[in-house]
């Protein structure tokens, strides 16, 4: 089970059991639908952007532990950040999920989010972790309100 523990780290299991910022956000001004057609994962991301700042962010939906934990940790991390900071974070996380060469120092930089790096060893699960982040990027950059990782 040792390497499974690398994917399902305690922080991920915790965020899956008790997702933070879960539920609708009534005064959101960006609402994004995210789907992983192959898994059946479906999440709705609610973002309230004011003055170039992510003032509030919540999500709801169903998905595997990786996708729920990733969504939960994402909302925790970007709440209160500027749009530019959030987009920069998207790039960092995307790199961490897809590139094996990510340096330990860079991972340390990401704090709790580094726990998601375990998916690199599970190619079929990368899209589970990426869904929330693509939804975030879409919410902050485009008018399109559905994203898919396929």
């Amino acid at each position: 089970m040792s390497d499974l523990k690398d994917l399902y780290r305690e922080v991920i299991l915790d965020h899956n059991r008790q997702p933070r910022n879960f539920g609708e956000l009534e005064d959101a001004n960006r609402v994004i639908e995210g789907v992983n057609p192959l898994c059946g994962d479906r999440m709705t991301l609610y973002v309230k952007v004011r003055n170039n700042c992510v003032q509030d962010v919540r999500f709801k939906g169903t998905g595997c532990a990786i996708s729920v934990a990733s969504s939960s940790m994402m909302t925790e991390k970007v709440k209160g950040s500027t749009v530019d900071e959030s987009l920069a974070l998207f790039e960092k996380v995307h790199q961490m999920l897809t590139e094996r060469s990510a340096e330990d120092a860079e991972l340390a930089d990401l704090g709790k989010l580094a726990a998601l790096s375990g998916v690199r060893e599970y190619p079929s699960r990368v899209k589970c972790a990426a869904l929330a982040w693509h939804a975030l990027k879409s919410a902050l950059t485009s008018a399109d309100n559905t994203v898919s990782t396929e």
Binding site: L4, Y8, C39, G40, A65, I66, R125, C128
Partner: protein, 418 residues
């Protein structure tokens, strides 16, 4: 078969089903350091060595294009492909070899009927009747042809147990129903549909009938004359043969009247720029060079299956499915999706607090291969109000030990997520 061949009795066939596992080389390997438990045969089954050997021999020695050359290799290849057609004809008890069309698989077989027959038959106001438990490949081709012709797709509902609602089916079957298409066995639920009875009712209403047999071919004895269906579709790779080869059986009198599906070589008799004369059946529907090695592999698969006593195999599989269902139901919290009275080969299940995808990954680490997701049957998932299931699917090469390994791996998943 010629009449001078000796009759073989079933006593000469293999009845020790457990011994057959040794014939499948892919089953004898470690995955993540543990002996593989392959429980994903409903997605694609493993192949016995005899099938692999037949395909290697074709590739190494006999390959050439068929029905064209007068040279030796072309003749060898042609003879083997046509022998495979004869094998398929026997396998499903078709009346004539001209009713056996090689396709790429079940999906293409259904698309062929939808495109060729559907387009010429359907008019605005007509209906195509399917069921709520169909695989996407028995939904989407009909949606496409309905859109094109103005016909309506009608869906017969299912019950909480995962069986067809027969009363509702009867009510939906009317003189407007021009085509009735149904899966013999549900890939997501394992339900065996009472197809013979349903076909009889649909015929009485005047509908053309098609059976999607992808999940039945590896488990059931198929007799298209007894079923009296107009079309029967299945795939090589679900029944221990190669991918990229499948079968469309069609009644000769219907196939004769249908326009070709694709144009090209093989399907013609003569071509000039003014007019093309189509070839006779089944070649009218086999445009282009077919999957020669695949067809030969499928023939070898049928020859292999013919060495096994069917009743013994069926008993073995039924007993194994009952054991698996019972074992899984004893795991606290586990919910089985699909509890039809007659089932074959499949247990779909989920835990309330562990997503199917997480189960799939954890089980893989334990060497246990299952399918997770919607199984190309999203309407079935919607019906049960779930996003996905884990599905353990069984073949005669599985055994009780495989079930025990699955149960132990599920216990580990529960521990991890506790």
């Amino acid at each position: 078969m010629s009449s001078i061949e000796p009759m073989v009795t079933d006593h000469s066939r293999i009845t020790d089903i457990a011994s057959l596992r040794a014939d499948f080389p892919a089953l004898h390997q470690n995955v993540h350091g543990k002996p593989l438990v392959y429980l994903d045969s409903a997605a694609s089954a493993q192949r016995p060595q005899a099938v692999i050997d037949a395909m290697v021999l074709q590739e190494q020695r006999d390959h050439a294009n068929i029905h064209r050359g007068v040279h030796t290799l072309s003749q060898r290849s042609t003879e083997k492909v046509e022998a495979a057609r004869d094998a398929v004809c026997r396998f499903i008890n078709a009346a004539s070899r001209c009713e056996i069309i090689f396709t790429r698989g079940t999906t293409e077989s259904i698309n062929l009927v939808a495109a060729s027959l559907g387009r010429s038959l359907l008019k605005r106001g007509d209906e195509v009747l399917i069921t709520h438990m169909e695989h996407h490949s028995n939904i989407v081709p009909w949606q496409l042809v309905c859109e094109e012709t103005g016909a309506r797709l009608v869906v017969a509902p299912i019950t909480d147990r995962g069986e067809l609602d027969l009363a509702a089916f009867d009510a939906l079957l009317t003189e407007r129903t021009k085509i009735f298409a149904i899966g013999h066995v549900s890939n997501a639920l394992g339900t065996i549909n009472p197809v013979a009875e349903l076909i009889a009712r649909a015929q009485a209403a005047g509908a053309v009938t098609l059976v999607d047999g992808a999940q039945a071919a590896p488990h059931l004895q198929i007799d298209v004359q007894a079923l009296d269906c107009d079309f029967y579709a299945f795939s090589g790779h679900k029944m221990f043969g190669p991918t990229g080869i499948g079968i469309l059986y069609g009644k000769e009198r219907l196939l004769e009247t249908m326009p070709p599906y694709q144009g090209g070589g093989e399907m013609i008799l003569t071509v000039s720029f003014d007019k093309t004369t189509y070839n006779e059946l089944p070649f009218k529907f086999e445009a282009g060079t077919p999957n020669i090695t695949g067809a030969i592999g499928l023939g070898a698969t049928i020859d292999y299956l013919a060495t096994v006593d069917f009743d013994a195999r069926r008993r073995y599989e039924d007993e194994l499915l009952a054991y698996a269902t019972d074992t899984l139901k004893h795991l606290p919290g586990l919910r089985v999706i699909g509890e039809a009275e007659h089932k074959s080969g499949v247990v779909s299940f989920l835990f309330p607090d562990i997503h199917a995808h997480d189960l799939g990954t954890i089980l893989d680490k334990e060497g246990v291969a299952v399918r997770t997701g919607h199984h190309c049957a999203m309407p079935v998932m919607d019906f049960f109000g779930i996003p996905a299931t884990a599905r353990a699917s069984f073949a005669f090469y599985n055994n009780r030990h495989d079930v025990d390994r699955l149960a132990a791996a599920l216990e580990k998943a529960k521990e991890l997520f506790a």
